[in-house]
Symmetry: C2
Subunit: 279 residues, 2 copies
């Protein structure tokens, strides 16, 4: 195995041309070796099985919120976040070369992508929507079938890779549609430019527990970027909190705050300390 990032094999969820692939290329460059995996479960398994050196997983979308299934898998796995990347999600209507948007009668895509284009479908009640496993895979399907009345909803990269024609741009209901991905590695690495720390904390459910847990960070003026409570399955009145903190690399205050947090929480899992996306 080479030590260059360009020759690392990176697993992502989806087929070639997926938004996750676009994120991998934005983060690591076009030279990266891409390993598509059909599900989040197989994505997380890919590194342990030796099929990939790294995995890229979506953790948050500005419209849909946190990807809870990925957080669940992060907690089950021993992978570490080592970088993040944010990409805009733009949906395109993609069909056969020479076809027209007006003649399209069937559109297939991932259910979440279809749900993010409700305004377009409301304006075209004649179109039948078909759910598929993957945005990019639905472009491949449409081109394979060769029926000009069929089109797919996917990102621009899928049109480029499979040779589809963009019939309409900007299908998404909301422009402020971004997805944040994290790069996962089997070992935690010391990232010199690290400025963001992600952790999952379990607290006893009693009044003031969260306030008490945040105090070591507030006292040291370590800034909270994200917080979210999630009920623990099968454990009523207990919660996980997902936290992202602004945390400069090598800051002794951060180490001290984390030590205090360990004393105040039922459990603390640092998911990673990495450089935040420039997006």
């Amino acid at each position: 195995m080479s030590d260059g990032v360009g020759s690392k094999r990176v697993a992502f969820q989806g087929e070639r041309g997926a938004f996750s692939e676009e994120a991998a290329v934005k983060l690591l460059g076009e030279r990266v070796a891409l390993v598509p995996r059909p599900t989040f479960e197989s994505l997380f398994a890919a590194v342990g099985e030796g099929a990939a050196d790294l995995a890229l997983a979506p953790v948050e979308n500005t419209l849909a919120g946190s990807v809870h299934r990925v957080y669940d898998l992060l907690l089950e796995s021993r992978l570490h976040m080592t970088a993040e990347v944010v990409i805009p999600i733009r949906h395109f209507l993609i069909g056969l070369s020479g076809s027209e948007a007006e003649e399209v009668k069937t559109v297939e895509s991932h259910p979440v992508a279809l749900a993010q284009c409700e305004r377009f479908f409301a304006s075209r009640p004649d179109i039948r929507r078909v759910a598929a496993d993957d945005t990019a895979g639905s472009v491949a399907n449409v081109l394979r079938r060769g029926d000009p009345s069929c089109a797919a909803v996917a990102g621009r990269r899928a049109a480029d890779i499979y040779g589809g024609q963009i019939l309409r741009e900007g299908l998404e209901d909301h422009r402020e549609n971004y997805t944040r991905f994290v790069l996962l590695a089997p070992e935690a690495s010391e990232v010199k430019e690290a400025d963001k720390l992600s952790l999952v904390v379990k607290l006893a459910h009693r009044p003031g527990a969260l306030h008490h847990a945040l105090e070591p960070f507030a006292r040291r003026r370590l800034d909270l970027l994200k917080i979210e409570s999630r009920p623990l399955r099968g454990q009523p009145w207990e919660y996980h909190f997902y936290l992202d903190l602004r945390a400069p690399a090598g800051d002794p205050e951060l180490t001290a705050a984390l030590e205090e947090l360990h004393e105040r929480a039922a459990s603390v899992r640092v998911l990673g300390h990495y450089a935040s996306s420039r997006q």
Copy 2:
């Protein structure tokens, strides 16, 4: 207009037989007059337009998380939360009377319902999935078409209302699938059994701001039930926080804590003070 809840008109999002209708009946009884609305936007508009006295809106699902669009509309509207209800989400395969699950080749439903039954569809790769506006509406469509190779995914209530046959139960991937709804009224009401307070707080983005804002509640041992940060659209580095607090009716400590919060936050919007669901 009568003062009995049974004769109030309650708007919900979806068609007759939707999960939202099931929630309305669970909360208010079978006598309630139900007003179906196609979208969240038209649901929120229904009360102002005089088409309904109350509206019932989903705010949270255990798998998918918060319904951000509903929180956005709550902030834009002047409606008040006056009650909550939690229902389990169970998906059923519903087809024509006399048909069999094995002969089904096309299944239609709302994209989110389809996405929650991935294990079933993985076991039946021969089935084509079609996205529809509504779970219950897709049952009505299937029965109208009369093709035994077509079925829908929806709740049991939709099968009962439209006369469909349940071909398979428990299609959902995860059993712990619950949705929490809130009842919205044009006026805030004093609920004697109120024990839960929902609010949205805007804080300046500076270190310790959240810790400082929670302190008046922690000091008085007022318990936090839910917290979630959401970036504010078009205002980088500013956040809304959704908060739910355990807050007994008539507690002077709660009033005092809210007064302190107003001094510490850029803005505070109390969404409602209501009795929590017995679920």
